[in-house]
Symmetry: C2
Subunit: 394 residues, 2 copies
């Protein structure tokens, strides 16, 4: 008598995971150093030493009963205060602890955000190309994720398609900038126009349309790129953050929901997150990780390698004749494949031990994603393989 919807999901394996498993298996044959594995978005640089030092300080100096004790259901108060202060310093918005809910990574934060503002049958819109996990994240709440087709010229927003799909059933719009998989950062123009439309339609429909901003790549922005703060454009914004990428600790499950102080009922929403938690078995990120992260809020891992890798790959791609929007951040790039069927393209690339992910899974067929969170030395060797692949195949 098992619940069929979850059983059915077992057969639909993630393309990204399948490719990653292929890369691991191939690595056992020829040595993993010879597999150019661009499949997974796993940080490749160490956590800041200050985080490790703070963990050890807590473990060696603090009373263990207090240190490992229950966190209040909204998060440890001092940690929420520190997060709010950091956001205020950073973005100039008057965040207070009352606007912060500590969550177990962006997945945990999004799980709360979706439940705050949608009921079964409601719609959430997001924009292709998009992180494919958004589908189970949203669909399993009973709400429905609908995907606005991409503007493939710029990977900014396809506003024409968006306005058509923004019906009365849409309760929230989900954005992800800097974007996985395109690496593109939404411009001021894009965010301004998005906010204008949301205000207009909220008024027209007589209900607030919430903007949910998924920002795990907020700190990975390349030189000279302006990455505007989404919440500055639209009051009814729920910011979902994860430290996974900025601090290189995806396994420790730490992030937060920050409700824009200007949002209607902001404090109530944060309190509601504590109730949502009871239904989904969340009960806060680990206490010691909350405490340690709160001491390094304004630091990041050394993220320079991602920009170095991006520049190498982007230059090579252009030289080889690929069409490609230059990423403004993240550790992803999303070029157009050299044939219409990106799945066929990626499958051929495997012959050269290049593990690329077809764009179909991100809602943008014909493109492919490279996750370049790997050593620069390996990127350099991979480009030889890429040249060989392209010259011998196209």
């Amino acid at each position: 008598m098992l619940v069929q919807k979850y059983k059915d999901m077992l057969s639909g394996k993630s393309v990204i995971r399948q490719l990653s498993e292929f890369a691991t298996a191939r690595g056992q044959e020829i040595g993993y150093e010879n597999v150019f594995d661009y499949s997974l978005g796993n940080p490749s640089v160490p956590v800041p030493q200050a985080f490790t030092d703070e963990m050890i300080r807590l473990l060696t100096t603090q009373d263990s009963v207090a240190l490992h004790g229950y966190s209040p259901s909204l998060g440890i108060t001092s940690v929420r205060e520190a997060v709010a202060a950091s956001l205020e310093r950073r973005f100039g918005l008057p965040f207070r602890k009352e606007h912060i809910f500590m969550a177990s990574g962006a997945a945990g934060a999004l799980a709360h955000a979706f439940r705050l503002v949608t009921q079964p049958g409601d719609e959430i819109l997001t924009f292709a190309p998009f992180f494919p996990e958004y589908h189970p994240y949203v669909d399993l709440t009973g709400a429905m994720l609908k995907v606005v087709p991409p503007d493939t010229e710029s990977f900014q927003i396809n506003f024409e398609a968006f306005e058509e799909m923004l019906t009365e059933k849409v309760m929230a719009v989900l954005v992800n900038t800097p974007n996985n998989p395109s690496g593109v950062v939404y411009s001021t123009g894009t965010l301004q126009r998005l906010a204008d439309i949301l205000r207009k339609k909220s008024a027209q429909y007589g209900h607030d349309i919430m903007l949910i901003s998924d920002e795990p790549y907020r700190e990975i922005v390349f030189e000279g790129v302006d990455a505007p703060c989404v919440a500055r454009f639209y009051d009814n914004t729920i910011l979902c953050y994860s430290f996974s990428k900025s601090l290189s600790l995806p396994g420790e499950r730490i992030g937060y929901v920050a409700v824009n102080p200007a949002c209607r009922d902001a404090e109530t929403m944060v309190n509601m997150c504590g109730q949502i938690s009871r239904g989904i078995g969340h009960n806060c990120p680990p206490s010691i990780i909350q405490l340690a992260v709160s001491k390094v809020l304004d630091q990041t891992a050394d993220l320079k390698v991602y920009e170095t890798n991006m520049n190498l790959i982007y230059r090579e791609l252009k030289e080889l004749g690929f069409t490609c929007v230059k990423p403004g951040g993240t550790f992803y790039i999303f070029p157009k494949a050299l044939e219409e069927d990106a799945k066929a393209f990626c499958s051929k690339a495997l012959q050269y031990d290049l593990v690329l992910v077809p764009g179909d899974t991100f809602g943008a067929p014909g493109f492919f994603r490279m996750a370049y969170c790997i050593a620069t030395e390996k990127v350099e060797r991979s480009l030889e393989a890429l040249r060989k692949f392209v010259k011998e195949t196209y």
Copy 2:
């Protein structure tokens, strides 16, 4: 446009939490050492040193990218293997890693178990007295928690009421032994009879009725008490465990789901947990905590103080004329109040700075809970207050 059900929950404050807040506030007036705070079930003894040592070893010797990396969605393989081996040693059932799903505490484990086997509208039965958080845990999934009234003589199962309530709509039965709030351990006779009924009714209704066993107090069992393993009596058992109490680290959110190897579709169920996670934003307990806990699976914090406290309190209660079932484990005791209305009783006790929780909230009006996870010295002082309270009031 906030979701009303969560908003409504904000006004229904937990009685336990309210009393705990009273205790804290009163502590600020007269010194917390003078408040006999029996409200909260927070462990009061340190984590084993071996856990702290292992955390420091991991932080100082392991590559941080690997250490803090993503856990596979079912948990770190070596950790699942270690948990399975420990369960096999302990209970003689052939657990393998395929039966283990790592979860963020018992709340996380239960969130998965309920979703595995119930759909909206289905019923889950549990037995009073019961942990009141079961209500939001179950009800927010869309299933319904129904509570079988207590057998107040023994706090074993009221089988007459149970058989009446075990209709075709019941998909799972939830037990908690050793029990919060009664401290009672279900006997072999109780578990045998429960299993017989479940087998009979499963056959009659043509669907498996799952037994969900919530076992956070498994390791806190007092001398001479036999605490039988629930899964040994019934194949279709899902065991939900937390290390919060046994290792004194409730804030670090670590536990597991273990599906009885004899359960129909056991391995499929564990794989399904990985899918359920995607919908509730769970994504595994923290990597470093998984790794550290896996090294101390067969250890506990020094739990003797709980038995010492229980014996002191139980003896005093009996001398003062209370009716009380002697706890076999946990750090709770659940005596009958000296007047019919336990709320009035507990309210009068507050005059003596005794913070007791009325049984109404646990589905057993007329009783009250004492959580004696406090220093023995404070228990001793509290007994003077209890004597004074009883003599002056009744």
